[in-house]
Amino acid sequence: MAKEIYFEDINIGDAMPTFTSDPLTRTHLVRYAGASGDFNPLHHDETFVTMFGMPRVIAHGMLIMGITSRAITEWIDNKCLKNFKVRFSGMTEPADLSDIENTKARATITVTGNVVNKFAEGGENRIQCDIQAVDALGGVKLTGSFIAALPSK
C-alpha cells in the first residue's frame, strides 16, 4: 500500500521509487494465464513456440503491465490513478530453473519513472509520470506513462 503523497511535495524531474520484480518463471506465466484467462499457448507451451522458431515461451505483455502497475501503486494510492498507458516494445522470456543464475537477468523486470508534468485538470491537481520497464540486460519491455490526481496540503 502506498503512503499518502501530496501534490506540493512532488517536483517535475522527481524519480518514482525503483521497483524490481522477482525473476519471472514459467510458473508465474501459468499463474497469470489462469488469472487473466489468456491461454495463448505462446505463453506456456514450448512445443507450440518452437514451431515458429522461438526458443522458449514468452511472458504476457499484460503481465509486464501488471507488474508495472505494482510499481505505481506502491508509490501512489490506487484511487489517485487516473490514466495508465503503455507501449509494448520487447518480449520477456522466463528464467530457466535448470540454470537460474545465468538466466534470471532476462526475466527480472525493473520499473523506473520520472515526473514530467504537474497540472490542474477537472478541479484536481495532477502529475504525469513517464515510466519504463526494463530487464537486467537492458532490454526495454515497455514504455508509457501514468497520470495521478494528488491531494493538496
Binding site: G34, S36, G66, R70, N78, K79, F88
Partner: protein
C-alpha cells in the same frame, strides 16, 4: 490483413461478475505471490480497504484485462471479425482511463468498438506496412456508471 471496412464496428457487449476470489487470484499473479496474505491488502482485505477510504476491496489497475477473456470469448472472435492475421499479431499498446473503482459483487458490462485503423510504413522495409487496429472499450458497472475506458492497439507486423 485487417479489413479496413470494419472501422466503427461494434462488438456484442459482455457481462462479467466480479468475484472476490478472482481479484485475489489476479493480484497474486501480478504480484508473483503464492499466498493472498502477501499481496497489497487493498486487493484482498475488506477491513484494510475500508480503513484506506474505500467502500470495499478494490481491483488492481489492469484487472479488467480478464473481463473479455473470461466473459467475452476472448480475442479470437474480434480477430476473426476484423480479418486480422493471428500469426502477424502483436499487442502494441494498452491504455486505461480510470473513472471509478471496481469492487467484489459488481457486474461489469463492456462495450467495444473499432475506433481507428491505419498503416505505418516499416522503417527498415520501405514499401512494407505495419497495420494498426485500435479498439476502445467502455466498461460500466451495474449502476450504469462508466468505470473504465480502455484502448487496445493491435498490430499486424
Amino acid at each position: 490483413m485487417a479489413d479496413k471496412s470494419k472501422l466503427g464496428m461494434e462488438f456484442s457487449p459482455y457481462t462479467f461478475e466480479v468475484e472476490k476470489g478472482k481479484i485475489a487470484e489476479f493480484a497474486m499473479a501480478i504480484s508473483q505471490k503464492e499466498d493472498k496474505d502477501q499481496v497489497n491488502p487493498l486487493y484482498v482485505n475488506r477491513e484494510a480497504a475500508q480503513k484506506a477510504g474505500y467502500k470495499d476491496i478494490i481491483a488492481p489497475p489492469t484487472f479488467q484485462a480478464c473481463f473479455p477473456l473470461w466473459a467475452g470469448g476472448g480475442l479470437m472472435p474480434v480477430i476473426q471479425a476484423l480479418g486480422i492475421n493471428l500469426f502477424r499479431l502483436l499487442h502494441g499498446e494498452e491504455e486505461y482511463d480510470y473513472l471509478g473503482a471496481i469492487h467484489p459483487g459488481d457486474i461489469m458490462m463492456g462495450k467495444s468498438k473499432v475506433v481507428d485503423m491505419y498503416d505505418k510504413e516499416k522503417k527498415d522495409k520501405p514499401g512494407k506496412f505495419m497495420e494498426f487496429t485500435v479498439i476502445e472499450t467502455e466498461i460500466s458497472n451495474q449502476r450504469g456508471e462508466l468505470v473504465i475506458k480502455s484502448r487496445s492497439t493491435l498490430v499486424e507486423r
